[in-house]
């Protein structure tokens, strides 16, 4: 498993180049809660959800996914995962498959989700530089991940502006078209295309803040003011009539 680690370095380099592009700075922090579902890309059968709570530059990250390929080269399949930043803040669509091989590979997806801002490693380095370090990437078919890490200013800015995207990599070659399954990675020619391609993606957005305004009115008041008014009015009229009638009879008796 050491070999793919070395081979994946160009992937990180490509990602870093994009990460260097300037991003808008935000005076206010990114404090708050962000969430996304993790939906399959490239015919992946996986799914999941992520939630990130930010206070200052500290982020409590909860991530859960399942249904990804279990093994790779007779070892747990390493699924590198990142918060991508700096572009449209979206997950790619099939139309982003520039070379038409049926796979939106990592590079083809970058106009949509940007470069690596933060690596969601299982321990140690969380910078973009650790983006392809499979020794600290989660492995296997499913993950329940909970980790508190420090986020870079760029990643904080991306979260605040709604351009952070979580991408989990690593497809099952068996689910790909024959052409794509046999293709080599365009980043790392020694690896199959499947190994470096995105499998799950989710564009992060702020969770709703505060309570929910699901009650613009109440039934604790008077519902039918008109009816009460009409009924009361009729009774009052009857009362006035009765009094008037009594007065008249008194007068006549006198």
């Amino acid at each position: 498993m050491r070999k793919p680690l070395t081979l994946l370095v160009p992937l990180a380099a490509a990602a870093l180049t994009v990460a260097m592009s300037p991003t808008a700075a935000f005076a206010d922090g990114a404090d708050g809660t962000y969430q996304t579902t993790l939906d399959p890309l490239n015919g992946s059968s996986g799914s999941g959800m992520a939630m990130i709570s930010v206070t200052g530059d500290q982020a409590s990250i909860d991530l859960s996914w399942s249904g990804l390929p279990e093994t790779f080269m007779d070892a747990p399949y390493p699924h590198v995962q990142h918060i991508h930043i700096g572009n449209r803040g979206e997950c790619p669509s099939p139309s982003d498959d520039a070379n038409g091989d049926g796979i939106v590979d990592t590079v083809e997806g970058q106009p949509a989700y940007g470069a690596i801002g933060t690596t969601l490693s299982t321990k140690g380095d969380t910078s973009a530089a650790a983006g392809t370090n499979i020794k600290i990437a989660p492995g296997g078919s499913s993950l329940d991940y909970s980790r508190t890490i420090t986020l870079s200013q760029d990643t904080l800015d991306a979260l605040a502006s709604g351009t952070g995207v979580i991408v989990v990599h690593g497809l099952d070659p068996a689910t790909l078209s024959k052409k794509a399954a046999n293709a080599k990675s365009n980043l790392v020619p020694e690896l199959p295309l499947a190994a470096t391609s995105p499998a799950l993606c989710g564009a992060l957005s702020a969770s709703p803040t505060g309570g929910v305004a699901t009650g613009s009115g109440s039934t604790s008041g008077v519902e039918n003011v008109a009816l009460f008014g009409a009924g009361g009015g009729l009774l009052a009229a009857a009362g006035v009539g009765l009094v008037g009638r009594r007065r008249r009879s008194v007068t006549q008796a006198g």
Partner: protein, 243 residues
């Protein structure tokens, strides 16, 4: 004589008018009272049941301590027993909750400009339920969020007026665009103060289990004319029907 007659006739006519007005008044008031809506039900105390039982223990849960007598014993289906749990993404179309006679279309809503959850607005969708479009679709892993008004200024009691009557074991069926019906079983109810609404607990929590939260308003404060709380029903996926 003519004069007496006319006086007597006038007195009789006046009496008839008075009686008629009184009778009509009572009848109209009766209708008005009948149209009065009671306050929406709220769960006893601020908490009933549990939130997100772990999949391992959900099958061992004992029946609710305070079961409603006329309801069948809650079924405790095993999470994951359904063949296709979790489901892929497919937006909700309608939701039905037999225990409180709710059946409604579901629309999709995001956030309001102020960052809060947008709510159905006056118009044809006011009394429909709304799925939060950034939450999982019902049946996907994690908490899917569906909200509905308890009552509105425009029309009084709304779609989730009786949400507080739900109890652990009650079923919530959500029909999805793909034709599948995701059936959730109620685990518990919580009443939260809007000022300290637990965002992470309601929109997050257990991210791997397909769950559903139903949200409405609670705790109307007549002095300020607003609801100060939110009632949240917690449930988890126990069955999948259909295509």
């Amino acid at each position: 004589m003519m004069r007496d007659h006319s006086v007597i006739g006038g007195r009789r006519g006046g009496l008839l008018l008075v009686v008629a007005a009184a009778v009509a008044g009572v009848i109209v008031l009766g209708f008005a009272l009948a149209s009065q809506e009671p306050a929406p039900p709220s769960p006893p105390g601020s908490a009933v049941g549990t939130i997100d039982p772990s999949p391992a223990t959900s099958q061992d849960r004992t029946p609710s301590a305070d079961p409603t007598p006329d309801r069948p014993e809650p079924e405790h289906d095993v999470v994951g027993a359904a063949e296709e749990v979790p489901l892929g993404a497919s937006e909700p179309v309608s939701v039905s909750i037999p225990a409180i006679d709710v059946r409604t279309e579901v629309i999709a809503l995001g956030k309001a400009p102020d960052g809060t959850l947008a709510v159905p607005q006056p118009g044809p969708n006011l009394d429909k339920a709304a799925w939060f479009e950034d939450s999982p679709t019902p049946g996907q892993p994690g908490p899917s969020v569906i909200e509905g008004h308890v009552a509105t200024e425009q029309r009084g009691p709304s779609v989730f007026f009786n949400l507080g009557n739900l109890r652990p074991g009650d079923k919530i069926s959500v029909e999805r665009e793909d034709g599948k019906v995701a059936v959730f079983t109620v685990d518990g109810l919580r009443d939260f103060d809007k000022d300290t609404f637990p965002t992470k607990l309601v929109y997050g929590g257990n991210l791997s289990t397909p769950t559903l939260r139903l949200i409405t308003c609670s705790d109307f404060d007549a002095s300020i004319g607003h609801h100060t709380g939110n009632l949240v029903v917690f449930s988890h996926l126990t069955r999948v029907r259909g295509a």
